[in-house]
Structure formats: structure tokens, C-alpha cells
């Protein structure tokens, strides 16, 4: 009887975890092609230098706070460049703060179910793709993509969706 009870508990636990993972997975489901894009979508992107020296042009406070929490080894964050991209259409290739050394390419793939936008990201260092990523970006919840080390710190791309 006891053994049967344990089996029941284990079974229920697995069943509930399964249901939970299915629900999570379904949030990633693509919306049907042709569904209307969010035409008021605005992306803000920046290239930031994270270090422990005094920045010439620091990022704004709230962003600095978040960056500090994500990258605890750095205390200061300098804004090297920024770019606001209005009305990002599906499958439209965009670039955040291009430079000879480092480039972040992103392409909106349309709205995601559950809110936000699906994006395809590619981080380039010179002629090499460092990483390719599918992500869903939601308003007020930025993506931080940490790049290579440079001058006692690290280069970080920030990508944010603004409504």
C-alpha cells in the first residue's frame, strides 16, 4: 500500500511537470505567417563598454543598475554608441551601432505569442559570426549580449524593445 502511494506521488509530480513544460513550450509557438506586425515597435540598441574606470559618457542610471547586476565584476558602463530603430518590420535586417570590430545584426521575425517580438540575432566580430541566436524580446526586458574583452573591460550590446 505504501509503495503504491509513493508511485502515485511520483506519477503525479511527473505529470504536472510535463504539463508545465508543455505550457512553457507553447508560449514559444510561432504566430502564423502573415499575422500583422506590431507597427509601433521600436528597438533601442547600444554598444556599452563595461569596466571599472570612470566613463566619459555613462549609460543612464537604470540601465547601469541592471548591467551591474548582470555583470557583477564591472562597476561602470560607458555608452559608446546607440541606435533607435523605429518601425521594425518582419524580416528586416537591422544593425546596432556598426563598427569595424564588432557588429550586432538583428532581424525581427514578427510578434511572439505571449507578447514581445521574435528576433534573430547575429553577433559578428570582424568577418566571423560569434553567435547566432533566436530570442523573444519583451518591452522593458532587454537583452545583454556580452562580447569580447577590450581595454580592462568588456564590450556589451544592449537590445531593448520599447513600446
Amino acid at each position: 500500500m505504501k509503495r503504491r502511494g509513493y508511485i502515485i506521488i511520483l506519477f503525479i509530480g511527473l505529470l504536472l511537470m510535463h504539463g508545465w513544460s508543455v505550457a512553457s513550450a507553447q508560449e514559444n509557438d510561432a504566430v502564423a505567417p502573415g499575422e500583422k506586425s506590431t507597427l509601433n515597435t521600436k528597438f533601442w540598441g547600444a554598444l556599452v563598454h563595461a569596466s571599472n574606470s570612470t566613463p566619459k559618457k555613462p549609460v543612464q542610471k537604470e540601465l547601469a543598475l541592471r548591467l551591474g547586476k548582470a555583470f557583477k565584476q564591472y562597476k561602470t558602463f560607458e555608452l559608446l554608441g546607440q541606435h533607435t530603430q523605429d518601425k521594425v518590420f518582419r524580416d528586416y535586417v537591422n544593425w546596432i551601432v556598426p563598427s569595424d570590430e564588432l557588429n550586432l545584426e538583428f532581424e525581427s521575425k514578427g510578434p511572439a505569442k505571449g507578447g514581445g517580438m521574435k528576433v534573430l540575432l547575429k553577433l559578428w566580430q570582424k568577418k566571423k559570426v560569434l553567435v547566432k541566436s533566436d530570442a523573444v524580446i519583451k518591452p522593458g526586458k532587454p537583452l545583454f549580449i556580452a562580447g569580447p574583452l577590450w581595454r580592462e573591460g568588456r564590450l556589451i550590446f544592449v537590445l531593448e524593445l520599447r513600446e
Partner: protein
């Protein structure tokens, strides 16, 4: 399309059968020049097509291509699993047990007490990542609850030398160019900051600033 055209087309494509072969032989006997000309033209077109159009093109990042499919299949299987459950078995006997409800309640308490801003909640999230360079790894690709941001962290990256100047501009306008992903970047009042183009393999190139 008339019968003559059909016969010639079949002949060009090696699709004549016994019946149509006989008919075609007659046609060929009546007008050999016409048949040969049409065939020559068709073969010329086929040859040109094959010289310009590939029959087989590996998709970019083929390993990633496969892994993405596997990932989607796993998700589809998870979503569809209840439909494939074997019939004829009573699986409801456990519902009557108080242990069942006790476990479910405990699980819900644990579930609701989590900070769910990540994958299944309100935060941005990473669906998948792929680092083509074997020396580069994705150390982290997850939602950071403290920072309320999603962090992608890579290891194995080549350091940028200190003497290299890395600087950007404050871009206020962007005009895409004809080629995919190229464009003109403007800072301030229509001041051209960068011209970007795509080289071979889609490599971004800053042409001017």
C-alpha cells in the same frame, strides 16, 4: 497544347511509351527539322538552367539546422504526447487517492512561489543559440532575475587589442540599401555616419564614415 506539341515534349523528356512512340515516329518522319529544332532549344534551355541554378544547396549552419528541427520535433512530441496514449487503459484510478490531491496542492504552492519572469513568464528569453566557431561557447543564455534582463555570455572570444579604437555614433536614422542588410546610417541632422554593405558570405563591411 496540341497533340504535336505533346509528342515532341514527351520525346524531349524521354517519356514516350509504346503508343506515343509510334505516333511520334510518324511526326518525325513528316517534319524532322521542326522536331530537332524544338529539341535543341529545349536542351539548350536545360543546359543553361543547370549551369546557373543549383540542384542542391546546403542551408547555412547545417548542424544548427538539424538541431533546430530536432528541438521542434521534441516540442511537437511533448505537445502531442497525450494524443498518443494507448487506449483501453483506465488511467483515472489514481484520481481517487487523497495522496494525489495532496501532491498536486504541494506542487502548486511550489510553482506559484517561483519568480517566473524567465522562460515561461514576462521576461525576454533566448529560444536557442549557436556558436559556429568551435573555440567559442555559449556560457550563459538565460534570464537574470536580479538584472531583469536576458544575458547571453560567450567564452573563447578573441580579445580586441587595446590600441584598436572601438567607437560608435548616436544613430538617428537608417536607410536600407538594395542589398540585404546593407544601409546608410545617419547621425544628427542627416549627417551620414556609416555606409554598410554585405560582402561575400553576408560579412558586414563599413565602406565609409
Amino acid at each position: 497544347m496540341n497533340r504535336k506539341e505533346e509528342l515532341i515534349t514527351r520525346w524531349i523528356d524521354g517519356e514516350l511509351n509504346a503508343e506515343t512512340r509510334e505516333e511520334f515516329d510518324q511526326l518525325m518522319a513528316d517534319d524532322p527539322e521542326f522536331c530537332s529544332r524544338i529539341r535543341k532549344e529545349a536542351e539548350g534551355i536545360g543546359s543553361k538552367m543547370r549551369s546557373e541554378i543549383p540542384a542542391d544547396v546546403q542551408p547555412p549552419y547545417p548542424d544548427f539546422f538539424n538541431s533546430q528541427i530536432q528541438k521542434r520535433i521534441r516540442e511537437e512530441d511533448r505537445a502531442g504526447a497525450p494524443e498518443r496514449a494507448a487506449g483501453g487503459i483506465s488511467v483515472l484510478w489514481w484520481l481517487r487517492s487523497p495522496l494525489t490531491w495532496g501532491t498536486a496542492a504541494l506542487f502548486m504552492i511550489l510553482l506559484l512561489s517561483r519568480n517566473d519572469d524567465g522562460i515561461s513568464g514576462t521576461g525576454s528569453y533566448v529560444v536557442s543559440t549557436y556558436a559556429p566557431d568551435p573555440g567559442v561557447s555559449v556560457e550563459r543564455a538565460e534570464y537574470d532575475t536580479d538584472a531583469q534582463a536576458t544575458v547571453i555570455m560567450l567564452t573563447g572570444l578573441e580579445r580586441i587589442p587595446d590600441e584598436v579604437e572601438v567607437k560608435g555614433r548616436d544613430i538617428t536614422a537608417y536607410q536600407p540599401s538594395g542589398s540585404r542588410g546593407g544601409g546608410l546610417f545617419y547621425a544628427g541632422q542627416d549627417q551620414l555616419a556609416y555606409v554598410m554593405e554585405r560582402g561575400i558570405g553576408g560579412v558586414p563591411e563599413i565602406l565609409a564614415r
